[in-house]
Amino acid sequence: MDWEGQKRSEIFMLISLVVFGVVAFGVGYAIGSFQIMMLIYGSGVVLTALITVPNWPFFNRHPLKWLDPSEADRHPKPQVNTAAPKKKASKQK
């Protein structure tokens, strides 16, 4: 899952669970059935889990664009002559 996908997945999870919780409580209280409340929330939980937990293709539509390796070869890192000035973050995430 790419960065954008992780963000969307998390936001969708938060909103979806809260909405299902509110709807379940409202309906359950209105018709006076604890069981209906639990059924609505339970189905919401299952549905939300199926959407947000697996790594679906639609969470991978914003891949990071790395530079081509040949580009790095053309601009070699300056050679460090003294002992460890400041290390730049490596490109591996």
């Binding site: 992780q6 998390e10 999870m13 919780g21 359950g28 006076g32 929330y41 939300t48 947000t52 937990v53």
Partner: protein, 169 residues
């Protein structure tokens, strides 16, 4: 929250789902406080079947009771069941309050909450001593409202003015 792997997403999801569930259950329990209980109950001693002193010196009495009650106002959407029991309560020189459970029942739903029962005492009415002759006593209907989730409520209706005979029979 980390969302970068299946395990992290599953963990974040379950944590949040259970949090919401806890909030819903808390609200359901709190909503019970808006319910106003107006139960009614009446217990009559239909007959004193027998009244005797056991060989060990304890008094025992057998009663036939007519119990009628309407507990339907106790039931809310968060009520699982109501437990009720009728206790004989009286004072003796040794103890300020003696409670002897005579009958109990579990009411599973609002439809069963209005009832009328004609019964002998389900549990034996025995005094730990010989204090029952001519004794004034109360019959008290106690109840515990057991919720699906949250706080349990307990209360009672005290009925006074009952008296046991002066002589064994």
């Amino acid at each position: 929250m980390g969302m970068h792997s299946f395990g992290n997403r599953a963990n974040a999801f379950v944590t949040f789902a259970v949090t919401i569930l806890a909030v819903m259950c808390s609200l359901a329990s709190l909503s019970d406080n808006f319910n106003v209980h107006t139960p009614t109950a009446d217990v009559k001693v239909f007959n004193i079947n027998w009244f005797q002193k056991q060989p060990n010196g304890n008094d025992e009495v057998s009663l036939t009771l007519n119990i009628s009650a309407d507990l339907s106002s106790m039931f809310t959407w968060n009520t699982k069941q109501v437990f009720v029991f009728v206790a004989a309560e009286y004072e003796t020189p040794q103890n300020a309050l003696n409670q002897v459970s005579l009958w109990d029942g579990i009411i599973p739903s609002k439809e069963h909450a209005k009832f009328w029962i004609h019964t002998t005492n389900k549990y034996r009415f025995i005094d730990q001593g010989s204090n029952l002759r001519g004794k004034d006593f109360n019959l008290t209907l106690h109840w515990h409202i057991m919720p699906q989730t949250g706080k349990m409520f307990a209360d009672k209706i005290v009925m006074t003015g009952y008296r046991l005979p002066e002589e064994y029979r």
